[in-house]
Each structure stands twice: as structure tokens, then as C-alpha cells.
């Protein structure tokens, strides 16, 4: 008789493992959301020189639990004009793909739901499904704010999906595999992909901010102009599913992707001796990015929709395409040598950070000049 791990019969182990994976994922999503909401409020408070939540529990730690209970016990109002079936379905459509994304995330060696051959493609695929839920939410609300929010959101999400995927393709070019485990294993040394492909990372980071509807790209919600956009008609736990669970879950997913692709995933000192240490490294790295997301939110103002689209289609996508082609050419021209790619990538980052604002400043100056002349 074959014996599976822990001496359990494989016929029992397979379903048991699945059950554990599902339970662990849902636990992670719930707790991640609670923790991140707390962190978000606390960090914003610190940056803005406030105290943040401090009433409930020590350091306000129980504040989010109180919020969760409040959300659960709030009345779930559904306006009469809404389309019932779609209105109820939309949160599920955005939530399910997010949960399913966790299947391929490698938390530690041999600690992964399923190591799919096409792991990265699978993640992109699930990312593209969230758009549908948001459009449907906006449409089903039968509210002008919601509909415009939904349309904007769809425009933003689908536009930023392109540079996001192009950045991923650049990493796949260098690594040569779509499996998340293989990608992690390829960065065993201290030279993680970030040092070689920083531009792909920066592009992905920006696109990820947009994909998760975080400031400065939180136009779909835009609470001050569109009264929360597609969320206007949602209330109670349905709103909580949408915003709290899904948004923070998606933040976890994109931060895990960044960790795995550019920062070596679970790799770190001592993992070879003690594989369980991988979980610690992975979580630490993921939370560094989560904190970066929050820092960005506290620092930057919201962009205007036309600036947002211009930036995506006229800057990010052309540069990402150049990056892919340059990487491909240099990979073939200098086999086994990643230095040229690294130089080109850092040059692109420099161009994005320094040359672009300078260009924009010059354009603005000539524009002002012209308007002044035409006014005179």
C-alpha cells in the first residue's frame, strides 16, 4: 500500500490536503484583510501625525474586529431600481478569482497549493476576471455614479493590465518558465531578479497599484467625486466583501507576485536548513510591499482619469515593449551574461524617473507660452 506524507493513506491525504489548503487560504484572506486595514489606518495616521485607532484594545488592535462585527450587523440596503440578480452576484465574481489566485502562490519549498506549469499565466487570467465583476456591479446598481465608476474602472483596469502582463513577460524571458516554484528557485543567490530587471518591477508596481484600485489610481471609487463609484449602492457586509476582503486580498496577491518574481520568494538565509523558515521570509517580503502600498497611498494625490490613461498608453506600454525587445535581443547577444540587460533596465528606470518629468515640464512650459501668446 502506498503511503503518503505523515504516513497517511494517499486516498485520505489528497482530500485532506485540499481541505486544509482551502481553510488556510480563507483564514489568510480574512486575517490579512483585518490586519491590513489596521496597518493602513495606523500608518496613515503616523504619516499624517495623528494617533489613529486607539480606543478598542491595546493600540487599537481590536478596532478592525469591531469594524468587522459592525459591518456584519449593518442593514444590507438594496435600492429598488437595482437589478437584483446581478447586484447580488457581483461581489462573488470579484471574490472567487482572488481566492483562487492563492492556489499557485509558493509560500515555502513544497508549501504551495498546486504548482501549475502555467502558474503566472493562470494568475494573469484570474486578474482579468475581476474587471467583469466591477463592470457588473456598476451596471446592476442602476445609478449614474456607479455606472460611470464602473466604466472608468473597467477602462482603468483593462488598460493597466497590458503593462502589467508585459512586465511579467520580461521576467519569463529571463527565467524561461511560468511555474511560480521554478521562478523562485531560479533566484537562489543574492542576485534576485530585481537587480536585473528593475524596470519590469517598477512597471509592474505601478500597474499593480492601478489593478488593485489603490491611490493614486483609486478613480473607480473616487469617494470625493463619484461617491465611491461602483460601490455607491452597496452597504453592509456586501460592501465589506467588495472592499475589505477583495481589495486587501488582491493587494496580498500582487505583493506575493512581486515577491516571487523579483525578490526571490521564500529564498533567504537559512531556508535550505529549515524549509519552514521560507514562510517567514515570504511573509516579511510581502508585507514590505504592502507597507510600500500604504506609504504611496498616504503620499500621493489621486490622478485625473485622462492623465491616468495617457500615462498607461503613451508612457508605460511603449516603454514596456521596448524593455521586452531590448531584453530579448541582449539575452541572445550575450548568452549567460545578465549585465547588459541590467544596465538597459536601470537606464529605463532612470528615464522614467528623471527624463519623463523633465519632458513633461518642458511640454507644460511651451503650452503655457502658447496660451499666453494667444491670449495677448
Amino acid at each position: 500500500m502506498p503511503i503518503g506524507p505523515f504516513g497517511i493513506d494517499p486516498g485520505i491525504w489528497a482530500p485532506l490536503r485540499l481541505l486544509l489548503a482551502v481553510a488556510l487560504t480563507l483564514f489568510l484572506v480574512l486575517n490579512g484583510a483585518l490586519l491590513m486595514i489596521y496597518l493602513e489606518r495606523k500608518i496613515q495616521a503616523i504619516i499624517q501625525d495623528r494617533t489613529g485607532p486607539h480606543h478598542v484594545g491595546p493600540f487599537g488592535l481590536l478596532q478592525t474586529f469591531a469594524d468587522a462585527i459592525k459591518l456584519l450587523s449593518k442593514e444590507d440596503v438594496r435600492a429598488k431600481a437595482t437589478d437584483k440578480a446581478f447586484f447580488l452576484m457581483a461581489p462573488m465574481i470579484v471574490f472567487s478569482p482572488m481566492v483562487a489566485s492563492f492556489v499557485v502562490l509558493p509560500f515555502a519549498p513544497d508549501f504551495v497549493g498546486a504548482d501549475l506549469n502555467i502558474g503566472l499565466l493562470y494568475l494573469t487570467t484570474l486578474g482579468s476576471m475581476a474587471v467583469l465583476g466591477i463592470v457588473i456591479a456598476g451596471w446592476a446598481s442602476n445609478n449614474k455614479y456607479s455606472l460611470i465608476g464602473g466604466l472608468r474602472s473597467a477602462g482603468q483596469l483593462i488598460s493597466y493590465e497590458v503593462p502589467q502582463i508585459l512586465s511579467l513577460v520580461t521576467v519569463v524571458l529571463v527565467v524561461g518558465s511560468l511555474s511560480m516554484v521554478d521562478i523562485t528557485r531560479s533566484q537562489a543567490g543574492p542576485f534576485v531578479n530585481f537587480l536585473v530587471l528593475p524596470f519590469a518591477f517598477v512597471g509592474y508596481f505601478i500597474a499593480a497599484l492601478a489593478e488593485t484600485n489603490r491611490t493614486p489610481f483609486d478613480l473607480p471609487e473616487a469617494e470625493s467625486e463619484l461617491v465611491a463609484g461602483y460601490l455607491t449602492e452597496y452597504s453592509g457586509m456586501r460592501w465589506g466583501t467588495f472592499l475589505a476582503l477583495t481589495e486587501y486580498g488582491e493587494v496580498t496577491v500582487v505583493c506575493s507576485i512581486m515577491t516571487t518574481l523579483w525578490f526571490g520568494g521564500w529564498q533567504g538565509p537559512g531556508v535550505d536548513a529549515l524549509p519552514a523558515l521560507g514562510i517567514v521570509w515570504f511573509t516579511l517580503k510581502v508585507y514590505v510591499f504592502v507597507l510600500a502600498f500604504m506609504w504611496v497611498r498616504a503620499t500621493l494625490p489621486r490622478m485625473r482619469i485622462d492623465q491616468l490613461m495617457d500615462f498607461c498608453w503613451k508612457v508605460l506600454i511603449p516603454m514596456a515593449l521596448v524593455n521586452i525587445l531590448a531584453t530579448a535581443v541582449l539575452l541572445l547577444a550575450f548568452p549567460g551574461n545578465l549585465w547588459p540587460i541590467a544596465i538597459v533596465n536601470w537606464a529605463l528606470v532612470a528615464a522614467l524617473v528623471f527624463a519623463l518629468p523633465a519632458l513633461q515640464k518642458r511640454r507644460l512650459r511651451t503650452f503655457r507660452e502658447r496660451t499666453r501668446l494667444s491670449a495677448a
Partner: protein, 169 residues
């Protein structure tokens, strides 16, 4: 084998879902509902591809059909007026006849279709590499033509949509 049984159950679920949702697309009155049923059919179809072991095709199916084409169609639905009266194309005036015609064709074809026997089954998993080998080897020319087709579609659609914008302004 337990996995065989699981596979059969999954196939039955998916087959019923595909046929049911497909029929719903045709029968449901509201366009938005039809679009969603269509998305559901596509999703189940991706499940079918997975049962056949074509994981890459399944991922592409969801990426293109659910993620892109359904969104495009939902946009189309939103930009067209709701609930205005329907006209028929010339061949749509005889709905009952069309049904009879389709059913007449469908029955023998279905019988014929289910008579296919398996040839040599391929190994499961990992269809990405053979797919890419064929695509960039033997099919290099169609691959380039595909980009020309996309370019033509892009230019054509922009011309159609943008011309109207300028007229309105």
C-alpha cells in the same frame, strides 16, 4: 480509479452547464443576462479544455473570452439603447422554420459526433511547449498574418467609432 470517476462527474457538470448556459444566451430576453450567460459558457468551456489536458488553451480562453471579449460586449451593451423594439433580418422572419431546420441538422450531426473513438491519447499536462513549438515553427507565417488582422481590426474599428465622434462635436 477515483480520479476517473471525478473526471466523469466534472464532465457531466460542465456539459450540462455549457448546453444550459448556451441555450440561455439564445432564450433570455435581456442582453446583459445573455452576455453573462455567455461568459459563464466560456468559463465552463475552459473547464472542458482542462479536462482535455490543454491548460494553456484554457488559460487563453479565460483571458481572451471572459476577460476581454465579454467586457467588450458589455461595453457594447451599455452603449446601445435598452429595450427598443427589435427588427428581423431577412432570414429571421421564419423563426419556427429556423428551429426545425437547425433541429433537422442537429440530430444526425450529434449522433455522428458521439461516434468518434479515441486515437492515441496524449500525455496530460504541459501543452505550452509543444504549442509554442508549432506556433513559432510551422505556423510562423499565419502568426504574422494574425498581427496584420489585428491591426486591420484596430484601424477599422477606430475609424468607425471616431468618425461618429467628430460628427457629433
Amino acid at each position: 480509479m477515483t480520479f476517473d470517476f471525478l473526471e466523469m462527474v466534472l464532465f457531466a457538470i460542465l456539459a450540462i452547464a455549457i448546453v444550459g448556459a448556451g441555450a440561455a444566451v439564445v432564450l433570455v430576453g435581456r442582453i446583459t443576462s445573455a452576455a453573462l450567460f455567455m461568459a459563464f459558457t466560456f468559463l465552463c468551456m475552459a473547464g472542458m479544455f482542462l479536462l482535455l489536458g490543454a491548460e494553456t488553451i484554457a488559460a487563453f480562453q479565460v483571458l481572451i473570452y471572459v476577460g476581454a471579449i465579454t467586457v467588450l460586449i458589455l461595453y457594447g451593451v451599455m452603449f446601445t439603447p435598452q429595450g427598443s423594439r427589435d427588427y428581423g433580418l431577412f432570414f429571421q422572419k421564419q423563426t419556427p422554420w429556423a428551429i426545425v431546420f437547425v433541429a433537422f441538422l442537429a440530430v444526425p450531426v450529434m449522433v455522428f459526433a458521439s461516434s468518434f473513438q479515441d486515437g492515441r491519447p496524449l500525455a496530460r499536462g504541459g501543452d505550452l511547449v509543444p504549442l509554442a513549438t508549432s506556433l513559432f515553427g510551422d505556423f510562423a507565417y499565419p502568426f504574422e498574418v494574425a498581427s496584420v488582422l489585428l491591426l486591420a481590426a484596430l484601424v477599422g474599428a477606430i475609424v468607425l467609432v471616431k468618425r461618429d465622434d467628430e460628427e457629433i462635436r
